[in-house]
């Protein structure tokens, strides 16, 4: 186990190195120059040159890359060429917001998806099952910007309720934070729920057909005892897998939902930086998201061993 963990952590190095080269290259290949974007069509050649120089963009690309990576190795993500703000504190702060949103969305999603997925599997082909499956299909098909806009309009126009406009964290003020995050988290939760519900249903259908379930039932256990005590754990692996993937994606920041609800999360931070060609921010942001994604996947792999002790690394 310890050796496995070490191996996985060491394998992070080439992954992150590869990503750093990739993101740096792609970003500098994209047309558009941060200085000209910042100064707009009102700029003079002279002012663009001065700004490029102050942004360090007049250096050769290799030098720029080495400077950047050199900084990273010392834990220095650099400063935004745009706002002059330190990048790492911003990433951490915004990641904190994205993390809260993700946890909330995932909780909403799972609380709906797992019970309904189980019911749907146990009562396969019943009216409930069909209802759940239709809802799942809708949840997957309707884009989240449509769901989000609808939620915002329905609550503000029909219920005259609009979420607080300043974002507060759950640690500061749980009640306010709930109000801030409830709409965006529901928007994301619907999509999460749809995926998890499908997976729960199919996993349970498969497990409920297994011999050990029949044996457990034959021993006189009630249906729900069997479902909770025997089927649940045995069906969890695929559910945890898809949930892990979803968390990984959501932690990268849900760009559309963050934009729509003005949640200053990581997705919005990186998106804005892409528009402005704020190279160090995009590079740092993408690298950070990649790291989180890989770590979440590692965590999921470790959770497997807890769910199913037969799995050994």
């Amino acid at each position: 186990m310890g050796a496995y963990l070490l191996k996985r952590l060491v394998s992070l190095i080439p992954i992150l190195f590869g990503i750093s080269v990739l993101v740096f290259t792609i970003l500098h290949l994209v047309p558009g120059d941060p200085a000209s974007i910042m100064l707009g069509t009102n700029a003079t050649e002279e002012s663009i040159a001065a700004l490029r120089k102050s942004m360090g963009l007049d250096e050769p690309l290799v030098t720029q890359y080495l400077t950047w990576v050199g900084g990273l190795l010392q834990g220095d993500f650099g400063v935004s060429v745009h706002s002059g703000q330190e990048i790492l504190p911003q990433i951490i702060k915004r990641f904190g917001i994205t993390l809260q949103l993700t946890v909330f969305a995932v909780l909403i999603g799972w609380l709906v998806a797992i019970p309904f997925g189980i019911i749907s599997a146990i009562r396969a082909h019943s009216k409930t099952d069909i209802g759940v499956r239709v809802a799942t299909l809708l949840g997957i098909s309707v884009p989240n910007f449509a769901i989000g806009t609808l939620l915002l309009l329905v609550t503000s126009l029909y219920f005259n309720w609009f979420p607080p406009i300043d974002v507060v964290s759950f640690w500061e003020n749980p009640v306010e934070a709930f109000k801030v995050f409830v709409l965006p988290a529901t928007t994301m939760g619907i999509v999460v729920a749809a995926g998890v519900m499908r997976m729960t249903r199919s996993a349970f259908l498969e497990t409920m057909d297994k011999d050990f379930i029949r044996t457990a039932r034959a021993k006189g256990n009630s249906k729900w005892t069997v479902v909770i005590g025997h089927a649940f754990r045995n069906s969890s692996i695929p559910i945890v897998t898809i949930a892990g993937m979803q968390i990984g994606y959501l932690l990268g920041g849900s760009v559309i939902v963050e934009q729509l609800f003005s949640i200053p999360g990581l997705g919005q931070y990186v998106l804005e930086a892409i528009y402005q060609r704020d190279y160090p921010v995009v590079q740092g942001g993408v690298l950070f998201v990649a790291l989180v994604f890989v770590l979440v996947n590692l965590l999921i792999d470790l959770i497997y061993t807890w769910i199913d002790p037969r799995i050994k690394y």
Binding site: V30, P31, G32, D33, S36, M38, L39, G40, T41, N42, A43, T44, E45, E46, S47, I48, A49, A50, L51, K53, S54, S83, G84, Q85, K93, R94, V112, F116, G131, A135, G139, I147, T149, L150, L151, L152, L153, V154, S156, L157, Y158, N160, W161, F162, I165, D166, V167, T186, I190, A193, Q259, F261, S262, P264, Q268, Y269, E272, Y275, Q276, R277
Partner: protein, 521 residues
């Protein structure tokens, strides 16, 4: 819960779609359910001391000499002061400069500063600070885009604490008007980088900037104009999505928000919200690369002008909320020429075809219009032009570019046709010399006409205003009727949605001009 949400979604699908797309047909139905309940949420007039303004974009630093982005200008123009200001009719009015005198030869301008003005840190604002600020703008390392405004400036002298003398290389009639721009604000002598640091003398002080969320400004209690800055705090709330801004202003969560012409129609007559529009300084244009074949022939460019129905652009793209414009937008009242006087503005397809034939293209040609996908109005303008040009056999392909990419193409001076938007400057000189003089830094059309160059250069040096006006009229006619390096299409109105308990009068003088005069009823 999920089902209930989904049911709600179905019920209001049509509602949301119309709101998403900004379509104007459904809004009256949308409002009804909310009308009665709206009243309860009205903030208490007496308790409210904070004005919340929606900001569509995140500011990119607060250094007035370095950042020309509108998202930053709207904030630093409240933190700093400039020597002069423009009022709502675009008349130059004194500000930090109490009065100024121009010498007879037009080459010396002596400015008297208002006495007793202090920076927010308590230091006096003196002639030394003015000298430092202009020298900072002129320093190439600052990279200020305002440097190009002051090419005539030779040296600055701080004669005594309240007297500044500007020595010019040549007379410059636009000089004082150019000092009204917020990007020529006066900063304390010795200032370093002001991107995150601010120390102006302006009506508001930077209290807090929460990146991605808001910028909070607090009233400067020692502001030298006690008649201005009536509101205690102004909060710029960053809200990037128009649908969210609309919902927020209707729910009374924000007080002031800039809105599109589409949304303005949608909000018209909604309780609690007033929509206020004004003629902006902007205009949309079709830029023509006069070096490229077939556009190197003025006849081809004139043909395009005759083939374009500008009124259709006003109606389709701007829903009628725009005015026809020449090289100087109509909001710049003193200088703009009445577009009715232009022959090339009258749609004349036959004449256009004849001109094309004379130029050797009786069957038209294929070409490309570059435009920015980021701005829907530019894309729509390009589409209308594409249709209209078909009538004379010009088949244009539209090339939509992402903003960063668009700026690259714009700078390359190598496009064919390009749809974009310009802002008329505070003085006629900006609109004429900067965009169309051979040396003009925004002349990306390769347009060069020595007669035009001489005319606008002389106009700049003319001390007599009547004479100056006549020269600019002639220059405008030259651009519109003869050389046609650009087609000037439409100057849109800008709209603000304002809660009805807020006194706020937006105008071409700019948002900050209205904000320092705003009050809560």
């Amino acid at each position: 819960m999920k089902k209930r949400v989904l049911a709600g979604m179905f019920l209001s699908l049509s509602l949301a779609l119309s709101a998403c797309s900004g379509g104007g047909s459904a809004p009256s139905e949308q409002a009804k359910p909310q009308d009665q309940s709206q009243q309860q949420e009205q903030p208490q007039a007496s308790a409210k001391t904070e004005l919340i303004v929606a900001a569509e974009q995140e500011p990119v630093g607060f250094d007035p000499h370095k950042v020309p982005a509108a998202s930053s200008v709207r904030i630093y123009s409240l933190l700093y002061d400039s020597l002069t200001k423009l009022d709502e009719n675009m008349n130059l009015i004194p500000h930090l400069a109490e009065k100024w005198e121009t010498s007879e030869d037009g080459k010396t301008i002596t400015v008297s500063l208002v006495k007793g003005v202090k920076f927010q840190d308590g230091k006096d604002l003196t002639a030394e600070d003015v000298k430092f600020s202009f020298e900072r703008i002129l320093n190439p390392d600052t990279g200020s885009i305002s440097k190009s405004y002051f090419s005539s400036l030779e040296s600055i002298e701080a004669k005594d604490p309240t007297t500044v003398v500007f020595h010019l290389k040549n007379p410059d009639a636009a000089f004082m008007a150019n000092t009204s721009s917020a990007s020529t604000s006066i900063v304390p002598a010795g200032s370093g980088d002001l991107t995150t640091d601010t120390a102006g003398s302006g009506p508001y002080m930077l209290e807090k900037y929460e990146s991605g969320q808001y910028v909070l400004l607090k009233k400067n209690p020692n502001y030298f104009r006690s008649d201005l800055a009536k509101v205690e705090t102004i909060k710029f709330q960053i809200m990037k999505d128009e649908a969210e801004r609309l919902a927020a202003i209707r729910a009374g969560k924000i007080d002031v928000s800039m809105v599109s012409a589409d949304s303005a129609t949608l909000l018209q007559g909604k309780p609690g919200v007033e929509v206020k529009g004004y003629q902006s300084l902007e205009y949309s244009y079709l830029g023509i690369n006069v070096n490229k074949k077939p556009f190197d022939d003025p006849k081809v460019r004139q043909a395009i002008s005759y083939a374009v129905d500008r009124n259709q652009i006003v109606q389709t793209v701007w829903k009628g909320e725009a005015a026809l414009t020449g090289p100087i937008a109509p909001a710049v009242k003193g200088w703009a020429v009445d577009t009715n006087s232009y022959d090339t503005y009258k749609l004349n397809v036959e004449k256009a075809k004849a001109l094309l034939a004379e130029a050797g293209y009786p069957n038209g040609f294929e070409t490309q219009i570059d435009t920015a996908a980021t701005y829907p109005d530019m894309v729509e303008t390009a589409q209308v032009l594409q249709q209209q040009l078909k009538a004379i056999g010009i088949n244009a392909k539209i090339n939509q570019l992402e903003w960063g990419n668009y700026i690259d193409v714009w700078k390359s001076k190598d496009g064919n046709l390009m749809v974009g938007r310009n802002t008329s400057g505070v003085d006629a000189d900006r609109s004429m010399r900067y965009f169309f003089h051979t040396e003009g830094s925004a002349n990306v059309w390769n347009y060069s006409n020595p007669a035009y160059d001489e005319l606008v250069q002389n106009a700049l040096m003319a001390v007599d205003q009547t004479e100056r006006k006549a020269m600019y009229e002639k220059a405008q006619k030259m651009l519109v009727e003869e050389d046609v390096p650009n087609l000037f299409l439409a100057s849109p109105k800008n709209f603000y949605a304002v809660r009805d308990n807020i006194e706020f009068a937006p105008s071409a003088a700019g948002e900050s001009f209205a904000l320092v005069r705003a009050s809560i009823k």
